[in-house]
Subunit: 260 residues, 2 copies
Amino acid sequence: MKWCRFQSAQKVAYGIIDGDTVTEVTGSPFESHTKTSTTVPLSRVTLLVPVIPPTFYAAGVNYREHVTEMAHRRGATPEFPPHADVGYRANNALCAHEEKIVIPKDATELVQYEGELVAVIGKKVKRISEAEALDCVFGYTIGNDVSERTWQRGDRTFWRGKNTDTFKPMGPWIATGLDPDTLTVMIRLNGKEMYTYAVKDALFGLRTFISRMSQYLTLYPGDVLWLGTDGPTENMKDGDVVEVEIPGIGVLRNPVVRET
Amino acid sequence: MKWCRFQSAQKVAYGIIDGDTVTEVTGSPFESHTKTSTTVPLSRVTLLVPVIPPTFYAAGVNYREHVTEMAHRRGATPEFPPHADVGYRANNALCAHEEKIVIPKDATELVQYEGELVAVIGKKVKRISEAEALDCVFGYTIGNDVSERTWQRGDRTFWRGKNTDTFKPMGPWIATGLDPDTLTVMIRLNGKEMYTYAVKDALFGLRTFISRMSQYLTLYPGDVLWLGTDGPTENMKDGDVVEVEIPGIGVLRNPVVRET
């Protein structure tokens, strides 16, 4: 099943997508909800970020090729994280499918995509085992962890390097009933395939992250966990279009503009 | 004026505190709201965290004595941050006034308080000057940035060192109409005064943080910015009571328990 959040006329609602049609739902996918009799063609709605998370978790560096390539470019030795220590991103930076990624005037050329799987939590849980960890996942969506590399390296935190407004595209919707171990992530820039990787090649998988996090942190419905990206990443410039595709979920597409 | 969020019977609402009485308000302090005719004695309500922030910002290291003392204890040279690079904390860790701070079984003895001022944003703003920065602040509350120092130093991020459930006491309410430059922060452990400092001695003040952040990030109503703590910080153990007082706002008090 595919769940979206959408705007149609002045109304914002959750909806269930069936083929080319969105059926409006009252309530939220994480609580009690009811299908209404209102349907709208998918092509006529504006898709919004599918969930505004109470807490926005991100695995950060979590794939071997990405760590190796990024270290190589800096002339450094790759350092692999010893544990699944989760990080954070910020809601101000969220950006919907088809919405513009806006590069600030004073950013360098090194503004890069990072296409990745996003797990959306559906249940309040604490201290779950790795074996049970996926039971708390409601579904999956797609994220693009856009990063300005000079700020990412130079600032004390990731505040503007990762969390400048529009730097966190997420969407287009949440797909349920998937096995994350079978998923692949494809990144395209202006239609050209840049990199494809298997979700299961993560240094630490979703089960490991969720179980470890939940030993200390309560996870809540709507929380999201971005799993990290693999491979080298390239610069995006004004006029580019970046797409992240995960077959079984869909395509997250965003045009890129630079402020003048 | 003092705004609280409270639970009375099964109901959660915002309220305005006048002396010993809470007047229930419909809506939120950040949007349209109306005073109702319902009043409850302050002593009869359970105070909740006064706001659940869309984004939870924290200045981190932002006072000279604190940086110096913490470096000294590690046998390191103090390093002062060159810029106001804001960091993040997480909503799962929020803990109300009088609620227990729960130290996990496997934490070391180095679980410490950090009493600090919290600015609550009241308006959606982007790119405001330092001169205008305080115009977007709705009011002020108190935070205790509880930290497990071995996790803080050993883990790749602050996920459990700073964001273990209950590690972010915030409250007891939001006070409006204050000049942050005149405020002092007092920290007491079991009634003993541990440290007192002036908010204005920050390495980077609120105006600097807010203006700099807003060059890249849209700030939203309800966002909070914790300004950092000063001075040495000491361990808290099972049975302790920690209080952070900011005259003009109030006292944030939390008992401490260790899981067995």
